[in-house]
């Protein structure tokens, strides 16, 4: 059936007279993690049990900022109707969710726990949230800069049996049809898949926008839900024990050589060139 003024074509076109297209509009879940700010110099605790976190500036994981930005862009392109920012973390992770709201996300969900959570537990929690919220797309940062695990997206895809495109550097969405370019060792790989799906974002996907004043003010009124892992039926089950944390080895001073001959002999000494 044709509605007045609406052109029917393949999935791409939006209506010409402003009548909204139905269906194929997605709800997107974005994962955001509160981590030590990227620009802060991290210090190892004297007892080597971990890193200093007390009185250290915390911010949203940079890859998660990219994830939020991508979700907002999809909303602006009218591919998505709602962006929900989800965080698993302490009470203060609410600030991280607020940043996502100030960038343009619509709602926030905090799954509150003071424990350090491992990717598998996070994936299980997200699985339960997905069951509740029924999103079409889950967008995560490729990894968090505190543990550099790069596992949550992949594990979540496994638990949900959803397609995944990790290290995304470009996302094209035509309704629920996704074309995602990934950065891989050999170059770029482009995958096609149909939502629902999991995406994890790499650095070059986009440049996250600043939080603007109007959006910051709107963000204060946006809903923020809070719950515990238990409320979702998830028992945290950490399987890793950190034995010790050390600073990287101090870089040694370089040596200036006086001649090409000396350079060659030093390279030989270090086994960089054959005898």
């Amino acid at each position: 059936r044709h509605r007045r003024g609406e052109r029917e074509l393949s999935g791409k076109y939006v209506a010409t007279t402003g009548v909204q297209r139905e269906a194929s509009k997605m709800r997107i879940l974005v994962g955001v993690k509160r981590v030590i700010d990227y620009a802060v110099k991290v210090r190892v605790k004297p007892d080597k049990s971990g890193v200093e976190k007390a009185n250290v500036k915390m911010s949203m994981n940079p890859f998660d900022e990219i994830a939020v930005e991508e979700a907002i862009k999809l909303k602006e392109a009218k591919v998505a109707t709602e962006v929900v920012a989800v965080s698993v973390g302490p009470q203060k992770a609410q600030e991280t969710i607020r940043t996502a709201l100030a960038m343009g996300a619509d709602r926030g969900v905090l799954v509150q726990t003071d424990d350090d959570v491992e990717p598998l537990d996070v994936a299980k929690i997200f699985q339960k949230i997905v069951d509740k919220e029924k999103p079409d797309l889950v967008i995560l940062g490729k990894q968090a800069i505190d543990d550099d695990s790069n596992q949550t997206g992949q594990m979540l895809a496994g638990l949900l049996s959803w397609p995944q495109a990790t290290f995304a550097s470009k996302v094209e969405a035509d309704g629920k049809n996704l074309k995602v370019t990934r950065e891989i060792d050999g170059g770029l790989e482009t995958l096609a898949m149909v939502a629902p799906a999991i995406l994890s974002c790499d650095l070059r996907l986009n440049v996250p926008r600043y939080a603007t004043l109007p959006n910051i003010m709107k963000a204060k009124k946006k809903p923020m839900e809070s719950m515990s892992p238990a409320d979702l039926g998830v028992t945290l089950d950490p399987r890793l024990t950190v034995l010790s944390v050390d600073e990287p080895a101090v870089r040694e001073a370089g040596v200036k050589v006086e001649s090409v001959e000396e350079l060659v002999s030093k390279l030989r000494e270090k086994g960089c060139i054959p005898e």
């Binding site: 700010d37 990227y38 009185n55 900022e65 600043y210 939080a211 603007t212 004043l213 003010m217 204060k220």
Partner: protein, 497 residues
């Protein structure tokens, strides 16, 4: 030895190399001092060792040319002492031999005060770079003059403190140079002048006498406060070799917002609101006009306009406090009200440290970005707030059509009533200087402003001093100079007319 003499002779007969743009200081055409001889070099080598003496002409380049590439001297030698004692011995010798000396820190000064005018010896403080001590209770740090500001900042950060000043040149400038020029910068609004935060100075006088005024005591009313003489004297009364500085506790909560406003009146209106509503946490209030912002946006890699549209004026507001929730509430209330009454039309608030640096870069890189486009005439002036931007507008009218309006930028520490007026030219020429200069100085003088808010006098402005200081004042300055440096060997041709 013969080679050195030949070089010295050549230096005398070589045509004056410093830029034609600089109208020479009257005294600079006369030979007041001796030239460096082979014996002097041997003495210097004896004190400092081979590595402490630079004579190679290509290696001398950075000592002889200023940061703006506007001024260039012909020092045949640069000395790199590594202790206060070295400095004493060097100056004693130079006094005896009537050799003129230019004390040099990071050489980032903007008025030609840190490079030679003729063939004065460059005395670089870069090797006096030790941080001596830090008292965590008093918050007092004592360090050598050659400590780079950024390095001092990092050291203090470890101890949860900050340097009470910050400026764009932090990666290169020395604390000794900052003190000698009474540097201002972007934290002045919060921490005030170095005249307040420097609590001790170690200086070597022209004849090599050590004046030890180092202290960790905030309060010390015992006689005349001599250290104040060296703060801002631009190396003309003594060489500062160490500084005792009151550091401030490192704020744990810093907020940076970048705002677009419709007019200069709004810049001032917002400033008053900021002082009232942000109160003690306000730590910086900077402004820039549309023209100013265009340069870092063009020149910096990865720079992007923070706002969705362009505005005639932009303001950067920074708050620094000890309680994030408390600060956030104040900042939100301030910004909300400003948006509601349309003092601010749009703005962004940094969400992490990287965004803060990006926003600050848009302000701190205006100068260097302009510099990358050509020759920049810089005027750093203090003018009563309500008149400040009129100078930019009047100058645009005055210089039209020689200089298009988009090459005249106004920005700066509006909170301190300090304007940085920059005119971008293709080259430094007499013609351009004549068109700009008497106009700018007369304009400022007529409105009771200062022709140099924070950059100092250097070589650029001694003969302009009368625009801002009375003849009596200048005469007394000469008397002080003569008392402390009778031969006038310290940074001659600078500061005083």
């Amino acid at each position: 030895m013969a080679a050195v003499l030949a070089r010295a002779a050549a230096a005398l007969t070589r045509p004056r190399r410093f830029h034609s743009a600089c109208r020479p200081h009257p005294a600079a055409t006369r030979r007041l001092f001796n030239s460096v001889t082979g014996e002097d070099v041997a003495f210097f080598r004896g004190v400092l060792g081979e590595s402490g003496v630079v004579e190679d002409p290509s290696e001398l380049e950075p000592y002889n040319a200023d940061w703006l590439k506007k001024y260039r001297g012909r020092a045949p030698i640069a000395l790199l002492p590594s202790s206060t004692e070295h400095v004493q011995r060097l100056l004693a010798h130079c006094s005896q031999r009537n050799l003129a000396v230019v004390p040099q820190g990071g050489n980032t000064g903007l008025v030609g005060g840190s490079v030679p005018v003729q063939d004065e010896v460059v005395l670089s403080l870069k090797r006096l770079s030790r941080i001596r001590s830090f008292d965590p209770v008093a918050g007092v740090v004592q360090c050598d003059a050659g400590v780079v500001l950024e390095h001092l900042s990092e050291y203090l950060a470890h101890h949860h403190h900050v340097v009470p000043l910050d400026l764009g040149a932090k990666g290169s400038c020395h604390i000794g140079g900052n003190v000698s020029t009474n540097a201002g910068g972007i934290r002045y609004l919060r921490y005030g002048s170095l005249h307040g935060s420097v609590i001790g100075v170690e200086a070597v006088l022209a004849d090599g006498t050590l004046l030890d005024l180092m202290s960790t005591l905030r309060k010390d009313n015992t006689g005349y406060d001599l250290k104040q003489l060296f703060i801002g004297a631009e190396g003309s009364l003594g060489v500062v070799t160490a500084v005792s500085l009151l550091a401030a506790p490192k704020p744990s909560s810093v907020n940076v917002s970048f705002l677009g406003v419709r007019s200069y009146e709004c810049v001032l209106k917002l400033f008053m609101a900021a002082k009232r509503q942000l109160g003690e946490i306000l730590s910086a209030y900077e402004f820039m006009d549309h023209t100013s912002l265009s340069y870092p946006l063009k020149q910096l890699m990865n720079a992007r306009h923070p706002l969705a549209s362009e505005y005639p004026f932009y303001v950067l507001v920074e708050t620094s406090g000890s309680n994030a929730d408390h600060d956030q509430e104040k900042v939100n209330a301030f910004l909300e009200e400003a948006m509601e009454n349309e003092t601010v039309l749009d703005g962004v608030v940094a969400q992490d440290e990287t965004q803060k640096s990006e926003l600050w870069a848009l302000r701190e890189e205006i100068g260097p970005s302009l510099g990358a486009c050509g020759a920049v005439y810089k005027y750093d002036v203090s003018i009563p707030h309500h008149l400040m931007y009129s100078l930019v507008e009047d100058l645009r009218t005055h210089l039209h059509p020689l200089v298009p309006a988009h090459r005249i930028a106004g920005y700066g520490h509006v909170g301190d009533a300090n304007l940085h007026l920059n005119i971008l030219a293709d080259a430094f020429t007499d013609e351009m200087e004549e068109k700009i200069e008497p106009f700018v100085y007369e304009w400022i003088s007529a409105r009771g402003g200062s022709i140099s808010a924070e950059h100092g006098i250097g070589y650029m402005k001694p003969h302009k001093l009368h625009y801002s200081k009375s003849p009596h004042a200048i005469r007394l300055m000469h008397q002080l100079k003569h008392t402390l440096d009778p031969l006038g060997i310290l940074n001659p041709f600078k500061v005083l007319p």
